[in-house]
Symmetry: C2
Subunit: 233 residues, 2 copies
DNA sequence: GGTGACAAAAAGTCAGACTTATTCATCACG
DNA sequence: CGTGATGAATAAGTCTGACTTTTTGTCACC
């Protein structure tokens, strides 16, 4: 995924971004453009472009006569897909995963409710197809296939909500679900109850039952929270 | 409060960003770096830095031999504070305001519930202070003072949730609330019921009653939705 | 009609010189 | 002593021009 190697400045970012988001430079640390350019063996122009990008992510601030200072974590643009990916690849991956899962638990039920109101018939069909795909891959260690349909399912829900802010979280959810399968929990077949819930959500959306779609999705996200030992109220 | 005039490339962005987010260039439009540099009377280096930033916001894509092509709206990083500001300042401000208010309605109740569990005593004190400030400015056309405390209130809630993703939405909520007061609805004193709800939320958080804090906040956000004629389920 | 070579176009890269704002230290003055 | 002005050092900011690389479109040729 991502967009690696789109030029020299991209390569610089692929190294420097993870370093910063991993907290290797404490807030207030000062980097010098010239030194960085030397370190990465690129020209100052290229280095400057990379710094501009980091600046637009609120990871650093460039000031005359001072240098490039690292901003405190609390100011980072944590919704930037690139930042999310860097952090998921780094040391505070568990923390990031928890934050994102809580975010999901807030967004997805509401999105499902809206989807029940706004989904087109094509989207309903896609949803059903995804749910059936999940069922088909729910037994016998077909985790890759299951994941594929799971991701697609949640993507469709978010898009069908008709809210662009929700729709853009599709990538984030995909990242979380993928990470969960690849690294963390879920060593064996998925929880049958979760699979059933997805099927029921698809039904509720098709039926236009917003309240039911919302509640069922809430149950799904509560399950996700519990997997990470995050207590549900 | 943005960060205007942080260099020539910033000035370019202040013009070009709003143009793109306003949809002046349809998706797939091609811009040339050299022409843009001429238009803004800056060097190519400066123009390239600006393009890099636009690229990191997924507004454009720069490809060799082709030029800088504008991406479809569906790919924009709509969570970038800069993009949000540009769009709020532009033509589809109403649409943006609706999206963000729906987002609020999903996030803030959950955040309030978490705040009831995690808020420090200092945060509880701040919250009460904000709520009282709202009460004090709720009558007699003191909209500026009311807004100030309202913004602070929601900021504290989001921060007290302990979730960094929620915390970073403080600026967005501030933007929405400010916009609402300055341009749109709310010509006279705020709804007394809303004021009361804020006080009650502060109480619930202090008491550690997560369910009550969540439900009361949900009522607040439902009110915000209704102000924009967005039907509540 | 498909295939491959060639040429044009635009972004990408680099090096070097110059400008400008900011900070810090020094020093004179109250 | 403090305090404020002065000036020098510093690192980012900017510009220019030359060169490279990749991609694409075209055109001849099979």
């Amino acid at each position: 995924m991502s967009t690696p190697g789109r030029g020299l400045h991209g390569h610089v970012l692929d190294t420097l971004g993870p370093e910063i988001t991993a907290g290797e430079y404490p807030p207030g640390s000062v980097l010098r453009t010239d030194e960085l350019a030397q370190r990465f063996d690129v020209s100052r122009s290229v280095m400057r472009e990379a710094v501009r990008v980091l600046e637009s992510m609120y990871l650093v601030e460039s000031r005359r006569r001072v240098g490039v200072t690292v901003r405190p974590k609390s100011e980072w643009n944590v919704y930037d897909p690139q930042v999310i990916r860097w952090r998921l690849a780094g040391a505070d991956r568990p923390r990031q995963l928890r934050s994102l899962t809580v975010l999901r638990s807030a967004i997805e039920p509401v999105a499902a409710g809206l989807a029940a109101r706004h989904a087109t018939s094509e989207q309903c069909a896609e949803l059903t197809e995804c749910a059936l795909g999940m069922v088909a891959h729910s037994r016998g260690h077909k985790l890759e296939g299951y994941l594929l349909h799971d991701v697609a399912f949640h993507r469709v829900i978010l898009e069908a909500s008709g809210n662009e802010m929700f729709a853009r979280l599709g990538d984030v959810v995909a990242e979380v679900l993928t990470g969960r399968t690849q690294h963390d929990v879920m060593f064996e077949d998925p929880d049958p109850a979760a699979v059933t819930l997805h099927v029921q959500v698809a039904e509720a959306v098709r039926a236009g039952d917003a309240a039911r779609a919302e509640e069922l999705t809430r149950e799904i996200t509560v399950g996700a929270l519990q997997e990470l030992d995050i207590l549900a109220p």
